[in-house]
Symmetry: C2
Subunit: 415 residues, 2 copies
């Protein structure tokens, strides 16, 4: 986690006076590029710069000229790098600072963003690479995740029937919301692609009487899921398969995937659609639950480098590349972005409670990186830079529900 050393090279070694003026100018440029936010920059020599437009709500302390240059050259990457290394410190409300930065117009970097996006779109994930990418995030140790996730270890957007619901209740409500959308019936066969620690597969089997085949390439997660299934006496009805979604075979009434599409990679959407098409019976249906966007944009390069290697967040049009070639009808798309912001608030609060324990297990820069990842995700969902789509789809022959009122307590009416 080092700032690229070439960034320093052009700075002449012995011209402190002129350099300081240039730096002050550069700091002003940075504020201008951010549309003069209510932030104060304090440079490494103690000098401070602010836009003066409105009283600053927080102070960003830059611990060297490299930080300033990095922020000017590629803010999306170097903000995270510098914050993680402690070379950029924030005095004030981190959440508020991130929201100000997310709301700033980003006119200058459209071409750069588009170039990065094309690299991400073209990236191909071999089975081995996919396994490596997933394990680098999800195999940090189940104890780590248990510290700040809910009891079920559900690491995806929860559904809060009302904003004050607890995280534990909201994760269970998410499971039921998805099951009701899919209208699971006793005895049906479900395949789940990317099952995390297995809580949703077990929930479906226990409460809806279906049999589930659940795929995941994270070793730690699958091991945890298998043990839980055995412990809870559900291992006859839920099979956890330690394999890639591309190796799904057999026929199922229902395909479901919660929070895996982000890891599939844009280049593999057609392949995923092919898997779904191959897995579904002639009256089958499915649901994709994924982070999405209002319009195509590159993944934030810091998140992609440090948190989720190989990830890509599609726009809804891009997401439909998975489904349209196979004549699967879109029945229902719901955006739950405010629910993901709320979920992340719960996670961040629990994470902060255990920050010192996590720092002891990993190190200070790990804590800073994860704090930034969680807080910036909250900001992104709040300001609408990203969304959470639940996409319900079906074969044309599927007898869909007459209305969606059964999701909200009314009895189910069928076509």
């Amino acid at each position: 986690m080092r700032v690229d050393p070439t960034l320093f090279r052009w700075a002449p070694a012995r011209a402190p006076q002129r350099l300081r003026a240039a730096e002050r100018w550069a700091a002003r440029q940075l504020l201008e590029a951010l549309d003069d936010p209510p932030l104060r920059l304090v440079l490494w020599n103690g000098e401070s710069v602010s836009s003066g437009a409105s009283p600053p709500v927080a102070t960003l302390r830059l611990r060297g000229p490299g930080v300033l240059l990095g922020l000017l050259a590629n803010p999306a990457l170097h903000f995270g790098e510098a914050y993680t290394q402690g070379r950029l410190e924030i005095e004030g409300d981190l959440q508020r600072v991130l929201e100000i930065l997310f709301d700033a117009p980003k006119n200058g970097n459209r071409l750069w963003d588009e170039l990065v996006r094309w690299r991400q779109i073209c990236a191909r994930h071999s089975l081995r690479r996919a396994r490596h990418d997933v394990q680098s995030h999800y195999d940090l140790g189940n104890e780590f995740y248990a510290l700040w996730l809910d009891r079920e270890m559900s690491y995806t957007c929860a559904y809060f029937p009302f904003p004050e619901a607890s995280l534990e209740d909201a994760q269970l409500a998410k499971f039921d919301h998805v099951c009701k959308k899919l209208r699971l019936r006793r005895g049906e066969r479900v395949v789940e692609a990317g099952c995390g620690w297995g809580a949703f597969a077990l929930h479906m089997a226990r409460h809806y009487g279906v049999s589930v085949t659940a795929f995941n390439i994270s070793r730690e997660q699958i091991q945890h899921a298998r043990e839980r299934a055995r412990r809870e006496g559900l291992d006859e009805r839920v099979e956890f398969v330690a394999d890639d979604y591309r190796n799904i075979c057999g026929k199922y009434d229902v395909f479901v995937s919660i929070g895996m599409l982000e890891h599939v990679g844009r280049a593999h959407y057609r392949e995923l659609g092919d898997v779904i098409d191959g897995a579904l019976t002639s009256a089958g249906r499915g649901l994709l639950h994924s982070i999405g966007r209002s319009r195509p944009r590159a993944m934030n390069p810091w998140i992609e480098r440090r948190i989720f290697p190989g990830a890509y967040i599609p726009s809804l049009r891009e997401l439909l590349l998975v489904l349209e070639p196979w004549n699967l009808s879109m029945l229902d798309v719901e955006d739950l972005r405010f629910h993901y912001a709320k979920t992340l608030e719960h996670w961040l609060e629990r994470f902060e409670k255990h920050a010192s324990r996590i720092e002891y297990r990993f190190d200070a820069s790990f804590v800073r990186a994860w704090r930034l990842y969680l807080a910036s995700s909250i900001a992104a969902f709040r300001c609408g830079s990203v969304q959470l789509f639940q996409v319900l789809f079906a074969r044309p022959g599927y007898p869909a529900a007459w209305t969606r009122s059964h999701l909200y307590g009314a009895p189910l009416a069928e076509v």
Copy 2:
């Protein structure tokens, strides 16, 4: 409404024996292309041909060799042409026959379909052409539509809270379903693009206290709408503008369009998005209600030629071309295809009740054409060849509803 005469040219004039064998072969080819449906063909000389696989549920009587050749060459066009002219008669359940034909695999014509689609995609609609296309359908006389539409003269998909609801109730329920999705508030400004006979604009103003500016290029419809607004004392709050949606100006809290996108033309989606973006305030939202598809396909050429000139039905991905470039967030997509099938069943039933009166006013081929258009639309919605999408979208700054439960009777919770 004539079958292309060049179709007859290659048939040698004096070889009745050989020709009859060739025709029988051609009739079998037709059945084979339709995957051996349970239908009996009776040729013009009285001979009958059927696939024999299952007992025929209906008889198609072909009144000349031109009909057979037309059906082989371009069934999507010539089925409608021949039926309208009375050169193809159907003994049995028309609806059932159409559903059998819609369910048949259409492998042979993919390339042709794609060529037709590209012509449709590239078709540009000048203001004058758009006016001509719309008037050719909607200016057939308000009395004609009053015979078979509901009391409100709503000529778009209704929303049946339960399948047995009356058409009158279902059209009002559609208005309220859309208003609840948009969460209209007293005093807000709404712009409606393509307002038909004005019922929805008047409903919004009367029941939700908003002011509405409603655009339409059908002269007959606008005149009817203005008279109704005056009569009902709503002309201060609802302005009906006899103009193209492209001439919308001013700022609005809400953009809504019910059943207009089908007439916009694929080549103009970006332009429509530009109009929406220009019309919406910074926390505005909108709703598009349009027929759509699971995957891109050409408009049926007979429907496009005889019923809706210039129309195009987009897939959901194509529809999103309107919204994505402007960073409008998709909040909710609902498919109401079974509601449109039900709506059309009501329309067809009422149409048949007045068939002799309509034939007196127009002629027999007009009645056959409209019967086929309504019945084939029912078949298309039932088998999933087309869908009805309601797409709710908003600026990122719009404080969306917390859940969708307020659409189903629960009190509204806001973010």
